[in-house]
């Protein structure tokens, strides 16, 4: 109650201060409470439910509902079992009346392909020197946990983007399939904006490793040689501790995991590490529970592994991208609270609120709407510019060159071929010592702007154009309207949007008016707060949703206890991070990151 009142007061103050200047222009002691206040405002005003009729989802629980995560994400909120399960609708961060998909005439204006060519195309790779390629690898690893709109609609009339005379795409139009429409629309949806469903679980439950259905969970646990679950609830890895090939995958030699779409070497590295980590957790829990069956060990290891990933994301990955005292404090505060890690380790939680001792262990709370990933969150996580077009692989012990590869050559089924040329440690070392691209204009990987979807059939996609089109199609407001909804100051001109004179002119030429600028383009054009790897606009959604993923989840709040996780599992989460995970599974790489403050910063070269 006191905490809620304090947050409301901070919310009022933050609203007032925002009239004068952005939070990052204040000193630390003002900026941090302002951020807490901004988050309180966002929780109150920027969470909207899209379920209008009683849900048609009918989850069936298996095992111990209270102490295990369900494969499909159901029964997390015991009062609303389908909340956040696979197949539930995406929510929204802006009022529902403003979420209608754009209508055809304006939907294609300006032409997304033109935007891709004139504003997104990478002219010269702009790196982020203080980050490594593990950043985009981790990002995609997480996104696959949280959301997917699934395959596009092949039956609906596709979008047809007219091509200019000077366009080298070929032909006179670019065809883009529509997003798959919600298959379960009810009477309450009449006259309402279109909705979309998340085919993955919405929760932070490691579903990218384990899958979002019982069948997928069973697949990753089953040894194909015997057709039985692996012993002790472990995940199936090959004898050399590498991921096996997916027996059901449509792509030859594609590695197996809970989610293995858009596969590339970065994802492979993360999935391999955390599959190994699962098995290591099993071994530890089994030491305390020698007579426990495989199901118990699997479920407990999954809980622990998912929480460890959530912790790494909260206290390591995000602070690497928000490399400022305020950004780091607020994100670490989500996990450890204002009192910090040392206090938490020494004395445990103080009070029930999340401000002092962090969200884990505090009471669950959904705030203004039932928990769901949102379309706006999906939109601000479009960070393809982080990806390089080319990769240089080197030996981890000598830095000697192994091979230079294009993005296409490290994707899909080609990944297993790479491991024939180099060790897993070499691949991880190479990614950890390379820089990602900066989230700025003219830095969208050209490989993804002509992405080989099905090259044999002549099917390519321009992901730059598709990113812009998807936001419009799904009713994500354009940049200025989006900021208005978040209570942010809105640029009145291109001069206020960016201080780069060349960009201003290019934006003006393409958009005409600043109000027309797309969200993706605006976030790439605006100047990020000092030390930040992404825009303040995206950051607002992050501070809302990053804490929500924890705060809404029973397994991070009321059931974040040694009784549910086991004592060994609970301590494992407290005592581990990305550093110890890599140390455990790739001990030979220890020297490469021994002096690195954050594991997502570039490691030392050999």
């Amino acid at each position: 109650m006191t905490s809620a009142l304090l947050e409301r007061i901070l919310g009022r103050i933050a609203k007032l201060l925002s009239r004068f200047r952005a939070w990052h222009r204040f000193p630390f002691l003002v900026a941090v409470p302002t951020l807490v206040g901004l988050r309180a405002n966002l929780r109150a005003h920027n969470l909207f439910d899209t379920e209008r009729d009683p849900s048609t989802l009918a989850p069936k629980a298996t095992g111990d509902i209270r102490a295990e995560r369900q494969a499909d994400g159901s029964h997390n909120d015991l009062g609303c079992p389908w909340m956040g399960m696979a197949g539930a609708r995406f929510g929204r961060n802006v009022p529902i009346p403003d979420t209608f998909g754009e209508a055809p005439k304006g939907l294609y204006e300006p032409n997304p392909r033109l935007i891709s060519r004139k504003l997104l195309a990478r002219e010269q790779f702009v790196p982020v020197p203080h980050l490594s390629v593990l950043v985009p690898a981790w990002l995609q690893f997480m996104v696959h946990d949280w959301l997917s709109h699934g395959s596009n609609d092949r039956k609906a009339e596709p979008h047809r983007l007219r091509l200019d005379a000077g366009d080298d795409w070929g032909g006179d139009e670019m065809v883009v399939l529509r997003s798959r429409a919600d298959p379960a629309v009810g009477p309450g949806d009449a006259g309402q904006p279109a909705t979309y469903r998340n085919i993955e679980t919405h929760w932070w439950d490691g579903s990218q490793v384990y899958g979002s259905s019982l069948a997928r969970v069973q697949l990753v646990r089953t040894d194909p040689a015997t057709g039985r679950f692996c012993a002790d609830g472990k995940l199936w890895l090959e004898p050399n501790d590498m991921l096996p090939a997916d027996p059901a995958g449509g792509i030859p030699d594609l590695e197996l995991s809970g989610v293995n779409g858009n596969w590339w070497i970065g994802l492979s590295v993360m999935h391999t590490l955390f599959a190994r980590e699962h098995n290591a957790i099993v071994d530890r829990i089994k030491a305390d529970h020698p007579h426990a069956d495989g199901e118990f060990l699997f479920q407990k290891a999954r809980l622990v592994n998912a929480a460890l990933m959530a912790k790494i994301h909260t206290v390591e990955w995000t602070p690497a991208l928000l490399n400022s005292p305020e950004g780091q404090f607020i994100m670490r505060g989500n996990w450890w609270g204002v009192l910090g890690e040392q206090y938490n380790r020494a004395y445990g939680r103080t009070g029930t609120g999340d401000l002092l001792s962090g969200i884990p262990g505090s009471p669950a709370e959904h705030h203004a709407a039932p928990y769901a990933m949102t379309e706006e969150f999906t939109a601000v996580y479009r960070m393809h510019s982080l990806m390089p077009d080319a990769f240089s692989f080197r030996r981890h012990d000598s830095n000697a060159a192994i091979a230079d590869k294009s993005l296409t050559e490290v994707a899909g089924g080609a990944v297993r071929g790479l491991y024939a040329q180099m060790s897993f440690d070499d691949a991880l070392y190479s990614l950890a010592t390379s820089n990602p691209g900066a989230l700025v204009l003219h830095n969208f990987p050209n490989t993804l702007r002509r992405f080989d979807k099905k090259a044999a059939e002549g099917i390519f996609v321009d992901l730059g154009a598709v990113d812009v089109l998807r936001d419009r199609e799904r009713g994500v407001p354009r940049y200025c309207a989006f900021r208005r909804h978040l209570g942010m100051r809105v640029p009145g001109s291109f001069e206020e949007l960016t201080d780069d004179p060349k960009w201003r002119q290019e934006l003006k030429d393409v958009y005409g008016a600043v109000e027309n600028v797309d969200l993706l383009v605006g976030t790439l054009a605006e100047r990020a707060p000092p030390g930040f790897g992404f825009s303040d606009t995206a950051f607002r959604i992050f501070i809302l949703m990053a804490s929500r993923r924890l705060k809404s989840d029973r397994f991070f709040t009321s059931d974040f206890t040694p009784e549910v996780y086991t004592r060994a599992g609970f301590d494992w989460i407290r005592d581990n991070g990305f550093r110890t995970v890599v140390q455990r599974h790739c001990p030979a790489l220890g020297r490469r990151f021994a002096d690195i403050r954050n594991m997502f910063f570039p490691w030392d070269m050999a």
Binding site: D49, I96, E109, P110, G188, A513
Partner: protein, 305 residues
């Protein structure tokens, strides 16, 4: 977000904005709007203000009449039957449509948006209804007195006779039809706000080309900011405990941002359903179509590329 304030003997009021809670209170027979003057001091003052302002010649306007009021129910049914009847459409004149379309496009009009809208609404109750600046000012007085958070200002308006003069003027224009006074004095402001939003959409560069008619309608349908209900007996429900005279404020416009559905905007499906639940959306659609139709003959829009 639900909020409540209770100081025994002084105030007992709760504000709700969640769809489910609003639906529950709307359906609960223990909540009414007779405003009988029970409850703590401030609750009684609020109820007295509502009774004094939302009335005409001693008769409560429909928006203040109790659910069991037979006259209210019959009048609501009659009006709804007329406004819901598709064969009677259009229930507006071509001139009104043209004038409003022009206003939405931001072209100069001799009369204000408020006056034009009030006249269009008034014609539903009196075929010769003529709105002017004075009649719209009267509507503004009535609305401000009903909704102001400044009880002293409201009291002054009542005591100086300003509210009574506004009631008389608005009543005269509709032959003292209580529903007509409510429509032209209170509800009209939601419609005016809707047209102002429509005008903003029209003026925003590129926006109107991106919005479907459904999207425009969803943005321009405005719900009453809030409506009051009074508990008639002691009890409990999911929003909490209540006593006779406890007030519950249904924050409909806030709820609309999460649920832009008729059940919120017009309280459709409840005993307090707005009889214009069909007419208002149809009218908004017609004005938007008029604005677009006229503009299509004049070349493209400004802004964008």
């Amino acid at each position: 977000m639900a909020m409540s304030l209770r100081i025994p003997g002084l105030i007992d009021i709760r504000r709700i904005a969640a769809r489910a809670e609003i639906a529950m209170v709307a359906a609960d027979q223990r909540f009414d709007r007779g405003f009988t003057g029970h409850g703590p001091l401030i609750n009684r003052l609020i109820q007295r203000r509502v009774r004094n302002i939302l009335c005409l010649k001693g008769q409560k306007l429909p928006s203040a009449a109790a659910r069991g009021d037979a006259g209210r129910h019959a009048a609501q049914q009659r009006l709804a039957a007329r406004l819901d009847d598709p064969s009677s459409y259009p229930l507006w004149s071509k001139e009104a449509l043209a004038e409003l379309g022009k206003a939405v496009r931001g072209e100069g009009t001799a009369r204000s948006l408020g006056v034009m809208t009030q006249e269009a609404v008034g014609r539903l109750f009196a075929a010769d209804y003529r709105a002017d600046d004075a009649s719209f000012r009267a509507a503004q007085v009535l609305d401000a007195a009903a909704h102001t958070r400044n009880p002293i200002a409201a009291a002054i308006w009542v005591w100086t006779g300003k509210v009574a003069r506004a009631q008389r003027l608005l009543g005269r224009l509709v032959q003292d039809d209580a529903a007509g006074v409510h429509a032209t004095g209170i509800a009209v402001h939601n419609l005016v706000l809707g047209f102002e939003r429509m005008r903003a959409i029209w003026a925003a560069p590129g926006l109107r080309a991106r919005l479907s008619p459904d999207a425009v309608l969803a943005r321009c349908l405005v719900a009453p900011p809030s409506v009051l209900r009074q508990a008639t007996e002691k009890g409990a429900c999911p929003i909490g405990m209540f006593r006779p005279g406890s007030l519950v404020m249904l924050a409909l416009e806030e709820a609309r941002s999460a649920t832009p559905a008729p059940e919120i905007v017009f309280m459709a499906g409840s005993w307090a359903r707005c009889p214009a639940a069909t007419w208002v959306p149809e009218f908004l659609r017609a004005v938007w179509a008029e604005a677009q139709a006229d503009q299509s003959g004049r070349g493209g829009e400004a802004g964008g590329s």
